[in-house]
């Protein structure tokens, strides 16, 4: 993976830049000692590392604006960082960049149950948003699996999803407004505690823009009352085709579960060895969860089980209690850890049309054989968001490159069958060079034109999302903003 050559004129001005940043931020909010900047050298895509020039940790929107203004004037690239949980390298710095971390922006600003929203600073973690409203029976719906650690800022940057988005949608469907700082230091508000924006949907545009259009410091989020209850059913099948057809039939029957999770045999076996959830040794396992009152849950589960029975199930196990629900979910929740016990793994994130599930799984199996690397599949089947886990040995020379090459083949396959490269993790640096597989030059130019408007000098997280060669000219503009 290639990153741009660091700008020597920035590296040579490091002391001057740090000194200027210290004029607008408290001393402890500007980090430049090499032993400390190292903590920010990577995110959860830890195969790639590079300590930044410096790190700033502003504690207010005004401090963010002041820091960005200086970087803008100095022509220094800025890499925004939430909690650093990106699996796509979204917060990976370059040597000549300043990391802007939002960790100190961690206050709840307003909760309004009558109007069903919460306004927070964006360094707050995803789970703590729900934590702030759950005493009143409310929750914040998007639930990425990193929700204990990941920041709302990162959720907005990547338009994060989660296990329950089949019913509740992803971040963009639950985001009502933001306060955000543009690269030149100007502060804007988009949306608010009301429906839709007055003009163009700039809120929808910035959500998922991977920190390339601005730094979001405050967010107004929709909150919902919790359902009365939820319970899953687990169904094991001897073929991916049957499991895939079962998913399709459930959806066609008019049932809208909150989650339909799918695991294949390698993942089932790994989790059994790891946590012993009592899963049957089958080709494909579905966990389908529904919500509502006790009677509503029972009725929906009965319909789902009836559909499952039509697909030659090996085993169907309906949860009858909180303990049984926890046991059914235990293996799924431990799946990534269980695979990590076997070996290093690379987690992909392509989405496919649900109808293509059996074909894509078969093809992934073939690729696994061709490359000689193990693959496990665990994913959100209701929405076709796959998470193939490619096993490799990080200590074995050439293995990472082999895994990356196989990953690229799988993602291209996702695009070929009508899907996309990434469903919820983002492009970052990881899938940057694959964008050509999904979009042609005009498509990409239209997207890059948006960045030209928000960040004319291409200083915000510049070497991400688009193929490096496609952005070279724009990134090389000498202070285009001036």
């Amino acid at each position: 993976m290639q990153m741009p050559t660091p700008d020597q004129t920035i590296l040579s001005r490091k002391d001057h830049i740090v000194r200027r940043l210290r004029t607008v931020l408290p001393d402890d909010a500007v980090i430049d000692a090499p032993e400390e900047t190292r903590a920010y050298e990577c995110d959860a895509l830890s195969a790639y590392r590079c300590p930044p020039l410096a790190v700033v940790l502003p504690a207010s929107t005004e401090e963010v604006a002041a820091a960005l203004k200086i970087c803008h004037d100095e022509g220094v690239p800025v890499v925004p960082r939430g909690s650093g949980t990106s699996l796509a390298g979204g917060a990976l710095p370059t040597e000549d960049s300043v990391i802007l971390g939002v960790a100190r922006l961690n206050r709840v600003l307003e909760t309004d149950y009558e109007n069903r929203f919460i306004r927070v600073q964006t360094g707050l973690t995803n789970l703590s948003v729900t934590g702030a409203v759950e005493d009143e029976g409310f929750f914040y719906a998007p639930d990425p699996s990193s929700q204990l650690a990941c920041a709302i800022a990162g959720n907005i940057a990547m338009n994060s999803g989660g296990a329950h988005c089949l019913k509740y949608g992803v971040t963009t469907n639950n985001l009502m407004g933001v306060k955000m700082v543009l690269m030149d230091g100007s502060i804007i508000d988009l949306g608010g505690p009301y429906a839709d924006m007055a003009g163009l949907d700039l809120l929808g545009l910035i959500c998922g823009s991977e920190g390339q259009l601005g730094v979001v410091t405050e967010a107004t989020l929709r909150i919902l009352h919790k359902p009365e209850g939820a319970r899953p059913v687990m169904m094991g099948f001897d073929s991916n085709e049957e499991a895939g057809a079962c998913v399709s039939d459930i959806i066609k029957a008019g049932i809208l579960p909150v989650a339909i999770e799918f695991m294949d045999r390698p993942v089932i076996r790994a989790t059994e060895n790891f946590v012993g959830a009592g899963y049957p040794d089958v080709e494909a396992l579905l966990i389908v969860e529904v919500e509502g009152s006790e009677a509503e849950i029972a009725q929906q589960l009965a319909r789902i089980i009836e559909i499952g029975q039509r697909h030659n199930p090996v085993e169907i196990r309906e949860s009858g209690s909180a303990e049984e629900s926890a046991r059914i979910w235990a293996g799924r929740k431990a799946a990534f850890g269980a695979m990590g016990q076997i070996n290093d793994y690379m987690c992909l994130d392509g989405t496919i049309p649900v109808s293509q599930l059996p074909f894509v799984l078969r093809r992934i199996g073939e690729l696994s054989g061709e490359y000689g690397l193990g693959v496990g599949n665990v994913f959100h089947a209701g929405d076709g968001n796959m998470h193939p886990l490619i096993l490799y040995d990080a200590n074995k020379p050439g293995d990472l490159e082999k895994a990356e090459s196989m990953g690229a083949d799988i993602l291209k396959l996702c695009v070929e069958v009508g899907g996309c490269l990434t469903g919820e993790h983002g492009v970052g640096v990881e899938k940057r060079e694959l964008m050509d597989a999904q979009y042609n030059a005009d498509d990409l130019d239209a997207q890059m034109a948006v960045k030209d408007v928000f960040d004319p000098a291409w200083l915000l997280n510049p070497a991400k999302v688009f193929p490096l060669a496609a952005t070279a000219e724009r990134r090389a503009r000498p202070m285009a903003a001036e």
Binding site: E114, N115, R116, M158, G161, V170, T172, D189, P193, Y194, A195, D196, M197, A198, G199, L200, D201, L202, G204, L205, C207, G208, H225, K226, P227, V247, I251, K252, A253, G254, G292, E296, Q299, Q300, T351, I352, P353, V354, S355, D383, G384, N385, G418, C420, T422, G423, E424, V427, K431, M435, Q438, Y439, D442, D443, L444, A446, Q447, V450, K451, V465
Partner: protein
């Protein structure tokens, strides 16, 4: 000029010598310029088991809805039909619905049109065919131009194809009705219902005095609807006299009346639409009544206010500094020219919009001035 294919559309825009007025079914108000009618029609793909529909932008909405109904599915965002209130004719198209991000009563539960839009193909002002998004439900590959196109009213590009997430139609429906509430109490009741666990799919308030009715809709499987309507009836019992409407046809008529603002159809005066924080709905309504003797309909739990006012009234002045926005739906050309159809945006946001317009339509030929 009528175009019937994407390539014709691209040629028409690339070769345009002046402003173009982009039209789907022509059910809403015209702007100036030569007419470019998008007659690209037809279903490209429909997979009920994947809840996915891909359809050409000029396909009549009625055709889309009939197709979905055949599989027991629907457009969950419940698009409004503007013809009654606009007094217009023509056939609404799915592209027109998307271009204006039109959503109905179910927005409080399901979300807006833009929330169901999975992908678009459009021709920008350069005449280039651009695609964004796709046909899958989760897609964060690159910037979300899909959202940008929804509600851009053809000012950045002209839609040729849209992909939509569809949802199962409901087996049953019921409306819990509280009688005789004033606006403020009504919105409190709606907030109580929307803030409950009972998955409310419509929350409106119509009429005044003894005729006032506060409406809370639930949809789903029959047993579930009966259960939730019962619980809501208890929950709202403190607010006033409660009844439950569970007849399917009467519910359909009631919510169509609200969706299409039928009460303002054929009446003299201007029609405005205000998007507000729900609890500010009654505040705005009181101000509009005091200033203009406005007639008001509350939807979206109070967050959407429809107002019928005397011709030429400036509702934005009366709205004060309440957060939100007011849009003219029906008024004379003079009033639109004087007040602007869309709510003005703060300067830095307006600058971003202008910047995008210049990138996507540098010649300024697509619906010029429409959103300004």
């Amino acid at each position: 000029m009528m175009v019937t294919s994407e390539s014709e559309l691209a040629e028409a825009i690339a070769g345009a010598k002046g402003p173009l007025q982009v039209v789907g079914g022509g059910t809403r108000l015209p702007v100036s310029g030569g007419v470019l009618q998008v007659g690209i029609s037809g279903v490209r793909l429909y997979e009920p088991g994947a809840l996915t529909l891909v359809v050409a932008a000029g396909t009549p909405l009625a055709e889309v809805e009939a197709l979905l109904a055949g599989e027991g599915q629907r457009l969950a965002f419940e698009p409004m039909d503007f013809r009654p209130v606009m007094g217009s004719e023509g056939e609404p198209t799915i592209g027109g619905v998307v271009a204006a991000n039109i959503s109905g009563p179910r927005r409080v539960q399901a979300g807006a049109c833009r929330d169901f839009l999975l992908g678009v193909r459009f021709v920008d002002g350069h005449g280039r065919v651009i695609k964004s998004g796709g046909r899958v439900m989760k897609n964060v590959t690159g910037y979300d131009l899909v959202k940008l196109m929804a509600g851009s009213w053809g000012t950045l590009g002209v839609l040729s194809e849209v992909s939509l997430k569809v949802l199962p139609a409901a087996e049953a429906v019921a409306t819990v009705i509280v009688h005789g509430l004033d606006d403020v109490t009504a919105v409190k009741a709606l907030s109580r219902a929307l803030g409950s666990a009972y998955d409310v799919s419509g929350a409106a308030h119509i009429g005044r005095g003894d005729d006032a009715r506060t409406l809370v809709r639930v949809e789903g499987f029959a047993d579930s609807v009966a259960y939730r309507a019962g619980r809501l009836r208890e929950l709202l019992g403190n607010f006033g006299e409660v009844s439950v409407e569970d007849d399917a046809a009467r519910n359909a008529a009631l919510w169509k009346r609200i969706r299409d603002v039928e009460d303002f159809a054929g009446r003299a005066g201007d029609v405005w639409r205000l998007s507000l924080k729900p609890s500010d709905g009654p505040v705005a309504a009181a101000a509009l009544r005091a200033a203009f003797g406005a007639e008001v309909i509350h939807n979206w739990g109070g967050g959407l206010v429809w107002a019928l006012v005397p011709e030429g009234a400036d509702l934005r002045a009366a709205m004060g500094d309440l957060p939100g926005h007011a849009r003219i739906i029906r008024a004379s050309a003079d009033t639109v020219a004087r007040l602007g159809r869309f709510h003005p945006r703060p300067a830095p946001v307006a600058a971003l919009e202008t910047g995008l317009k210049e990138k996507f339509d540098p010649r300024g030929i697509l619906n010029p001035g429409l959103m300004g």
